[in-house]
Amino acid sequence: MRKSLRFVTSVAAIVTLSSALNAFEVSKPVCLAPAKPGGGFDLTCRLVSNSLSASKVIDKPMIVNFMPGGVGAVAYNHVIGQRSNDPEMIVAASTGSALNIAQGKFGAKYTIDSVKWLAALGADYGAVIVRADAKWNTLAEMVADLKANPKGFALGSGGSIGSQDWFKAAIIAKLAGINPKDMKYVAFEGGGEALTALLGNHIQIYPGDIAEFSGQLSSGKYKVLAILSEERLPGVMANIPTAKEQGFDAVWTIWRGFYLGPNVTEEQYNYWVDKIQTLVKTPEFAKERELRGLYSFTKIGKEYQTFMQEEEKKFKELTKEAGLIK
């Protein structure tokens, strides 16, 4: 009995020791933001790099690099084509990236499974925003009006047809029984332009993002009819009802996450999964996430990969349903 115990311990010791010797450790971690500095992907990278160093989960400083082009298409192609086995680099992504991949815009031959998805670490949610002096006070009133007069109101947002901004509008249109193809949708360059157009009454409904909008919340110029989240959001948003509680099945999550190259080893992938799992439990991470106006939305490792496959399926269906692909 004692002999076998000793045998087991020594085997265990050898195994742990050898794996410790081989264990992968990053030396120059990089977060690649597939855009210019200052945008959403930059913010996503900063969230991880700042909280990693503040919590000392990885003691090497993580550098943020930038690779702008095609809302992430250039970076996606670059990672798959040229740095597929680089274990030091994680790349920022968002709902928009997944949508583009599902629609084949990042390259027809690439799918969600062309890279290894690491984790989603925060989210923003869609919101239905109208002018403060609009006659509607609830989502139901607005939807009823839209139903009665589908051509009477213009929706506008900061993205082209088929983009994630457009899908928020499409979801609202569908609530009113309008085929997304027939809705009056005005594509602006970014949410700021759409807000200005709303103020000038050039559009009447702005399906935007709530965290992005939060700076304008106290201006008194706008009214948020509903937030497109599963449950009520905390903090200043707690007073705003969700679409769900108003009886409409409309949820739109803009999550922010990361992926690794497709050819990193299982061990290297697990290393990152471990680190991120430790990271999300630290108070430093919670603080950094809040600082960036993101809500809690955590999916790590295999769970995230499965989630991404579901997202791809969902977006493909939505795209087909909207008549954007035949």
Binding site: G38, V74, G156, S160, G162, K184, A187, E193, T196, G200
Partner: protein, 501 residues
């Protein structure tokens, strides 16, 4: 007075050692870029914008300095026009007409001094105009919807067609080239890729910086390499660098009138300093030239274009800050600067970025005074700089430009693109195509198309949306006016000539 309190906030932003230094640096570099033949305000701003950005300067600091380069260049352009009969930039072409004859008469010093004061007066009148006119326009700008923007662009293209330079056909071809370049990339309404050749780097279209560095740095340098060196110029002697009160008073109405003309021309979208100085010179000649002294060294003929091209710089900032529409080629680049910093230019700029807007305006008051001061004692230094050998100048400019492009795009593809566009720009210039229309076509074309499609999306495809509302009526009226002005003025001139006979 709300304007004055806003202006006070602006001065509070600017009156820091860093910002004062940046204004000084901007004015100095601007005068330099203006003084060097070939390099003008667009080149200066185009080359330094990526550098400001890479250095991590905050947006208001960058803009303050870049604007300093803009109006500083309008100041500096006169130096080589007067001394060498070679305009330092496009806005200084008319400065040669009377400036160079003055220098030949041994009046180089007074010519430099007078034109310095004229530039100062033009600049100052324009900034006052900007201070009071821009907030007014900004408060109306909120009513500019997609339809109004589209009609405004129609007006802008009409002004380019009607007023642009000596060769309208080449200007229009230039505009078309700009439009073609602007079409590449994701279509902002439907998300369809256009002319990207499957190259992911082209999905976002031609990056603004790449285009301006290609057209305004690379091609310029190729021309410089080809041309003679500046060492062969013979500098006239500079005697007294001041003007007498009598000389100033002699020109006072010319300066005030030309400043107002320059400001108005600047406000019109799609025009620029060259048009402002041409119009003001012609008008000054018509009004004042009773003895036929214009073109032979008349002081008023020197003061008119100089006041106008500086006033134009201030005027061009009005539509840029209020509507997000460039008033000139250089403001198109400044607009690109705002977008690089993720700031949406448009009617909300005055509300959302008051420190940026008012800081910029306040900095221009200070900058103009600085320029006046710099330009008197240092005019001799600038004349020395005109003799900087090209073997030193050319490599420095190209290195600056490329470092800038690379650091913003992080891609060698971007460098390659700007080289290709530079070669294209070189050939266009060899064939005497003006470059400003190309850049305006590139910028305005995109605004025009986006808004056309937005308007149609709003109206459900009805064209009537472009003919509704007061703003549209006014804009259509202005468009017709600008299109028929050349014809009408020709007719009147003919009648006048007949009557005289």
């Amino acid at each position: 007075m709300e304007v004055l309190s806003s202006l006070a906030t602006g001065f509070a932003v600017v009156l820091t050692p860093t910002h004062l230094f940046l204004i000084f640096l901007g004015c100095l570099l601007g005068t330099l870029f203006g003084a060097l033949p070939g390099l003008g305000p667009i080149n200066g701003v185009a080359i330094l914008l990526p550098i400001c950005y890479t250095l991590g300067l905050p947006v208001e600091s960058s803009l303050i300095m870049l604007a300093g380069i803009y109006y500083g260049a309008e100041f500096g352009g006169r130096i080589s026009s007067i001394l060498l009969n070679v305009p330092g930039d496009a806005g200084a072409v008319f400065t040669c007409l009377d400036g160079y004859p003055m220098a030949q008469k041994g009046l180089a010093g007074p010519a430099l001094a007078l034109s310095g004061v004229a530039s100062f007066i033009g600049g100052t009148i324009a900034i006052v105009g900007l201070t009071f006119f821009a907030p007014l326009l900004a408060s109306v700008a909120i009513y500019f919807g997609p339809a109004e923007y589209f009609v405004l662009m129609v007006f802008a293209f009409a002004t380019i067609g009607a007023l642009m330079g000596s060769n309208p056909v080449k200007s229009l071809i230039g505009v078309t080239i700009g439009l073609i370049i602007g079409v590449v990339g994701v279509d902002s309404t439907t998300g369809v890729l256009r002319f990207t050749l499957g190259e992911a780097e082209l999905y976002d279209g031609f990056e603004f910086l790449i285009v301006i560095v290609g057209f305004f740095a690379v091609s310029e340098i190729m021309l410089m390499l080809e041309h003679h060196s500046s060492e062969d110029f013979e500098m006239p002697k500079i005697t007294r660098v001041y003007v007498t009160m009598k000389e100033l008073l002699y020109c006072k109405w010319t300066m005030v009138r030309s400043s107002i003309i320059g400001f108005i021309v600047g406000v019109l979208p799609g025009t620029g300093a060259s048009i402002a100085s041409a119009v003001s010179y012609t008008i000054a000649q018509k009004i004042s030239d009773k003895e036929g002294t214009f073109g032979k060294g008349d002081m008023r003929g020197l003061a008119a274009p100089e006041s106008a091209n500086n006033a134009c710089a201030g005027g061009a900032l009005v539509p840029m800050l209020t509507l997000g529409v460039p008033g000139s080629g250089t403001t198109a680049v400044l607009l690109g600067a705002l977008m690089l910093y993720n700031i949406n230019p448009g009617p909300m700029l005055f509300v959302e970025q008051p420190t940026l807007v008012w800081g910029l305006i306040a900095s221009m008051y200070i900058g103009n005074v600085m320029l006046l001061i710099i330009n008197f004692p240092m005019v001799r230094v600038f004349t020395k700089i005109l003799q900087v050998p090209y073997w030193l100048l050319v490599p420095s400019v190209i290195v600056l430009a490329f470092v800038g492009v690379y650091s913003v795009n992080m891609s060698t593809f971007a460098l390659l693109l700007s080289l290709i566009l530079g070669v294209l720009g070189y050939f266009l210039r060899k064939l005497h195509y003006p470059m400003a229309p190309v850049i305006l076509g590139f910028v305005l074309g995109k605004i025009m198309e986006d808004n056309l499609r937005r308007a149609f999306a709003m109206s459900g495809g009805e064209i009537g949306i472009f003919f509704q509302g007061t703003i549209n009526y006014i804009l259509w009226g202005l468009t017709l006016f600008i299109l028929f002005v050349p014809m009408i003025s020709k007719m009147i001139a003919k009648r006048y000539a007949l009557a005289k006979k």
